[in-house]
């Protein structure tokens, strides 16, 4: 069975819990005391991940680190419909990789601000972290606005969300815990609602569920 080395408040671990929930996968977790225990920097954990970072999975002996890498692995291996990480479209592969790299930028800024405000990481330059997150959110909001204009609900083209949406979602939705308002990003806020309505969506601390979406009398979503 898949084992996830997990920390409840980690948005990066949440990415994997989300995908495994969307896919209906069974898995076990091993809790790592990130704060205040700093267990991810312990000698024992460094043997599992020399970078001393969460998340890590162990799937029947295959040990993988890095949330985005694990998303690609899990979607490739366990999504029977190949919707979350379609591999037969070169353009789409490039776009998913581009936005997953972008998600790393969101982690470096928005997540850093949240660690500063919420978990006492006082060495982080909070102003730079917030400014960096706003710079990225402006780009994402513009992208999603024009995606909507093109009739596209998700970060990448197609009628199904991909691992790129999962990679970007957690530290966008948790940004306010780092003092980063999303008020001026209306397209991001609408995308968050759509994301929360994906069947199998689960919450974590600080993330609230959406209500049902609108369907017209004929049952068609609008």
């Amino acid at each position: 069975m898949i084992k996830l080395y997990d920390y409840e408040l980690s948005g990066n671990c949440y990415k994997l819990r989300l995908l495994m929930s969307f896919l209906g996968l069974e898995y076990q977790t091993e809790a790592i005391d990130f704060y205040p225990g700093n267990q991810h920097k312990s000698d024992a954990f460094r043997r599992i991940n020399p970078l001393g970072q969460l998340p890590v999975i162990d799937d029947d002996g295959l040990v993988l680190r890095d949330a985005q890498a694990i998303l690609i692995y899990l979607a490739s291996k366990y999504d029977p419909n190949g919707k979350w990480y379609p591999r037969d479209d070169a353009a789409l592969l490039g776009q998913m990789a581009q936005w997953m790299a972008f998600a790393d930028g969101i982690t470096a800024t928005s997540s850093a601000a949240r660690l500063h405000d919420g978990l006492f990481y006082s060495s982080i330059d909070i102003d730079a972290a917030r400014a960096g997150a706003h710079r990225l959110f402006r780009i994402l909001d513009e992208h999603l606005f024009f995606a909507e204009e093109a009739g596209q609900d998700w970060i990448c083209p197609g009628d199904h969300p991909t691992v790129a949406d999962i990679a970007c979602f957690p530290y966008v939705i948790l940004s306010e815990e780092g003092g980063i308002s999303r008020m001026t990003y209306p397209a991001i806020r609408r995308w968050c609602d759509r994301f929360k309505r994906i069947p199998g969506f689960i919450v974590m601390s600080g993330v609230f569920p959406a209500g049902p979406g609108f369907t017209d009398a004929a049952g068609v979503a609008a």
Partner: protein, 574 residues
Amino acid sequence: MATDLQNTWHPIAASTDLVKRHVYQAQLLGREYAVWRADDGYVNIWENRCLHRGVRLSIGINDGRELKCQYHGWRYANRTAGCTYIPAHPADAPARTICNNTYPVAEASGLVWCGEHATGDLPDMSGFESVTALRGLPVNAPRDMVIEALGAYAFADGCSAQTDEHGVVTVTAADGQAVRFFVQPSDSNLSVIRGVLNQALDGAERIAALRHHNFLLDVLRSQVEARAAELETPEPMTPPIAKVSADLAEIPPEQEGGRTAELRVQVVDKTVTAEGIVSLRLEAIKGQLPTFQPGAHIDVHLQNGMVRQYSLTNGPGETDHYTIGVKREPDSRGGSVAIHDSLAVGDVLAVSAPHNNFPLRRDALHTVFVAGGIGVTPLLAMARALNSQGLSFEFHYFVQSHAHAAFRREMGEFGDALTLHKGLSPEDTGAKLRDILASPGHARHLYICGPGPMLEATRGIAADLGWSDEAVHFEYFKNTKEVDDTNSFQIELARSALSLNVPAGKTILEVLRENGINMESSCEQGACGTCRVGVIEGEVIHQDVYLNDAEKSAGKSIMTCVSRAASDRLILDI
């Protein structure tokens, strides 16, 4: 003091920003708004904080009819912003005074407009009869600086810009294409550029135009933000949020007692909904009708001077009108006949604000409704509320025949939860009720409304089958008991420090009013529960049909319109 900017309209969103089942977050002159479009299209602009614990409503849930706060689940109605349900107090109807602040709203030219104290007309849009709204672009700079920069905006050959005295910038190209910019003053150092083109575009042309302007405005934004960053950032605006409105904070002035009919409504539609039953759609002459909750009724003051109570049948969020159903009573004393025969579309009626003494719990695992005849009206509103929230219920509607079943269209949404029982004899009705009520179970609640004998029978069967008093809720149309008012006694008002004598022939309610205690009342015959008062000490002779048996024997409250003291004195909690 309201400033000029507070008195004028500003765009705060594009119409397309407000998708259904979403809550948009906006800010104007420092004040934050939760903005949401109900399924009926209405745009609500509210203070962005829950009245309970101050949590932002922009993270709440728009269910199409109501907005639910994420924190403790308080629900607020479309249009009125009145609270309709508090999960922590499932048995109580929230007071009408629990109402969020609403702000002026208008939708025109592809934009949604607001102003804290906006009155008067929207900005003149001649030349912009058909429009395309551009993507709103937030800028970290004061409004004036953005307006100034827009004066140099050029999107095609031969552009010239004009800025009017309100800061509206219109840029016209040589070929007649034009864009008009409004700069939304979100805060002292945050503005949003909202532009509209003077033509309605679609398809690839629309996207190309949106991208073109978005790119140019992004360049302009970089320049303005660089300039703004060189200046000292102004302090954020701090709009005051009143803790409680002045009229609620002060002791209310002494008022004339009596039933009040504070609302004027017009009969907009009168439809025969079933054999002998008309439905009336009532709309406010001006302003907004007050919030109602399922189970609520209004007093209707008829043109012949009679006052009658009718339950609202509205579903949640249907806040632009009240709908009531009126049965023509064969033994009518003039109320229902006057409505059936004399009242016409266009007539104006005086009605009370809604009273709700028949509140609906929404924490039941399953709810059973038993409606007889016109008793369907309050239960219809209740079942519509549960249905809208996806909560489990079944609806049993006992009627003489198919033709006597009212509000069938509204009930269509109940699907399999609805069962019509047609033309059953009293014996068959009893047998059917025994089936329906066979399993009381945990957290199951029963709501009954119908003719007296049926209501009595249903309560009796429910009690027989083990339903507790707390799980059985009912409302009588009227109190048919003979009221005995021959005794005389003292009442002491614990909070008002008054001692009064209630003589034979007068009700407690009348004595209270004569002595300047402003009491709410509605049916004044012991059926509706509006004039209920707490009893601190003393024995009560209950003559109402509102309280259940457990409540009557507990003796903790009294219907002051009919009930009296069994002892020499009563100490009342008023």
